[in-house]
């Protein structure tokens, strides 16, 4: 199956399964490249005769709607150019929103959603760094309670951390189906590069714990050119 088709099906399934699976939507929207995400949207059209944003917007009634629809609609600039002062002021805006979090659900905050869904990944990494200077904590630490937002920031700003979590959870003794599925989803559609780096750290565990076809896939990831 083409990666785009696979992602489109993952998205559909996640939507169907509801809120516990919304993190899958975040993961796909945030870890794919701009063109990969676009491809998934096109595949979704072909497969389901609707746009992904139509379906998400229609079926999600909760406060996460705005964030999720905007995440899948993104076509981020992929250049490395970053403006430090803009990043700083946006870090301030995020800090502000988080500090006022009790008054208003952060995930519905227009400013927060716009920053996280329109800005390029390099820019967001800069925002992440600037935030740490302002707050002594990272954005992810401050977002402990808002799981979806936390995962959004993690996938966009510190993908390595996110990938490591997935590998770790899947390769433990008590790993459940969900954790293993998460790993499969990750390695099936990510190319080498960032994920290979993370996979290398787990090489030993993969050797020991994983068997059969599943192991082949993981070994394949390790072997791929970065």
């Amino acid at each position: 199956m083409h990666p785009w088709e696979r992602d489109a099906r993952f998205l559909k399934k996640a939507l169907k399964k509801g809120p516990p699976q919304y993190n899958v939507i975040v993961e796909i929207a945030c870890t794919r490249s701009s063109d990969q995400l676009l491809g998934a949207r096109k595949a979704y059209h072909s497969l389901f005769n609707r746009s992904i944003e139509e379906d998400l917007a229609f079926h999600i009634k909760g406060s996460e709607r705005k964030l999720l629809v905007a995440l899948v609609s993104a076509y981020r600039y992929e250049g490395s150019k970053v403006k430090e002062d803009t990043a700083r002021s946006e870090a301030k805006a995020l800090l502000n929103a988080i500090n006022n979090g009790d008054k208003r659900k952060i995930v519905e905050d227009d400013e927060v959603v716009t920053i996280l869904t329109a800005r390029s990944k390099p820019h967001l990494k800069e925002v992440y760094d600037q935030y740490k200077k302002l707050s002594n904590k990272t954005i992810t630490e401050d977002l402990e309670v808002e799981l979806l937002l936390k995962e959004t920031v993690e996938c966009l700003c510190t993908p390595q951390t996110y990938f490591t979590k997935i590998f770790d959870a899947a390769l433990r003794d008590d790993a459940n189906e969900g954790a293993k599925k998460a790993l499969t989803r990750l390695v099936a559609t990510q190319k080498g590069g960032e994920i290979k780096e993370v996979a290398t750290k787990f090489e030993e565990q993969i050797e020991e714990r994983v068997k059969g076809a599943y192991k082949d896939v993981l070994v394949g990831v390790l072997a791929k050119e970065g």
């Binding site: 059209h45 076509y75 227009d110």
Partner: protein, 314 residues
């Protein structure tokens, strides 16, 4: 239908040579420029640029920019660009104005096909090193921003299927919002920015059938309400884009002086699409041919180019 008249057999090299000759030396032969470029479609114009670059190691667009001036230069510049690139430029110009031309953003995002809009977003990134949505978000705020960003990032399903039940329920949602004057309701934005165009037309038709008036009529209101204006423009573009463009043309010519920006924009962006139909609509509604109105209101090389793009024979 398109209005421009481009021959099927063309020598790009010859065209490049003619253009070179037109620009060389003292003064510029604007007529030659119009007679070549005014009769070439987008694919051909692209090839001419390449041929010119190869022959003379120079960017034709830059050369023309330096040789020409005024409304004529702006029109030629917009005409010669690739459609997606052109839209990116138009969008950027609109956003960067002191008081952004929001209706241009709406126009581009609502009248281009889903694939075309994607191409515009790519072209925008290539040119400006930012995504279109970033720039729109940075120059707008509040509900207007929410609506515009959603319009600009939409990748609507392009199929013909219509779900009548959905059209009914969403027509009702729209009407309820209109009645309560809650135009910025989340559901209004959801429907307008995510549904396919065919689905939206079915919804709008259902709305008119049920309430005896089009939704656009019901969205008329306080002209100081920026959000409402943007919303109404979006609905007009999505519902009947030809009617919308006819109105823009009408307004650009009607007032004291002419709105050359709008006039150029509509003619240049529709000449290869449906300008013929827009012309017919214009004639019907104004009892005068668009060419006549344009000829009366413009002059010189600018006029000559516009008339050529409108399909006037040399």
């Amino acid at each position: 239908m398109a209005t421009i008249d481009a021959p099927s057999q063309v020598s790009f090299q010859q065209d490049a040579e003619i253009l070179r000759k037109a620009c060389k030396g003292w003064g510029t032969d604007e007529k030659a420029i119009i007679s070549v470029l005014g009769h070439r479609n987008a694919a051909q114009r692209k090839q001419i640029r390449l041929a010119y670059e190869e022959l003379y190691q120079e960017d034709l667009v830059k050369r023309l920019e330096s040789e020409l001036s005024g409304d004529f230069e702006r029109a030629v510049y917009r005409w010669i660009l690739d459609p997606a690139d052109r839209d990116a430029v138009l969008a950027n110009v609109a956003i960067k104005k002191l008081s952004p031309d929001l209706h241009v953003i709406v126009e581009i995002s609502c009248t281009r096909s889903p694939e075309e809009l994607l191409a515009v977003r790519r072209a925008y990134q290539a040119r400006y090193k930012h995504s279109l949505e970033e720039d729109v978000a940075a120059h707008t705020k509040g509900d207007t921003r929410t609506l515009l960003v959603a319009l600009v990032t939409a990748f609507r399903y392009d199929g013909e299927e219509i779900n009548t039940r959905l059209a009914n329920s969403e027509a009702k949602i729209l009407h309820d919002a209109v009645e309560d004057k809650k135009f910025n309701h989340e559901e209004v934005i959801r429907i307008l920015t995510t549904r396919s165009k065919m689905q939206l037309m079915a919804t709008f038709n259902r709305y008119s059938d049920d309430h005896g008036a089009s939704i656009t009529k019901h969205l008329q209101g306080d002209s100081g309400d920026e959000f409402l204006l943007v919303l109404r423009t979006a609905v007009r573009c999505l519902n009947d884009s030809k009617k919308y463009f006819e109105k823009v043309l009408h307004n650009s010519i009607r007032r004291m002086g002419t709105d050359e920006d709008a006039l150029t924009r509509v003619i240049v962006t529709r000449a290869e699409k449906d300008l013929k139909d827009i012309k017919e609509l214009y004639h019907k509604r104004n009892s005068v041919a668009l060419e006549q109105a344009v000829a009366k209101d413009t002059s010189g090389d600018y006029k000559a180019l516009l008339l050529t793009l409108l399909g006037k024979e040399d």
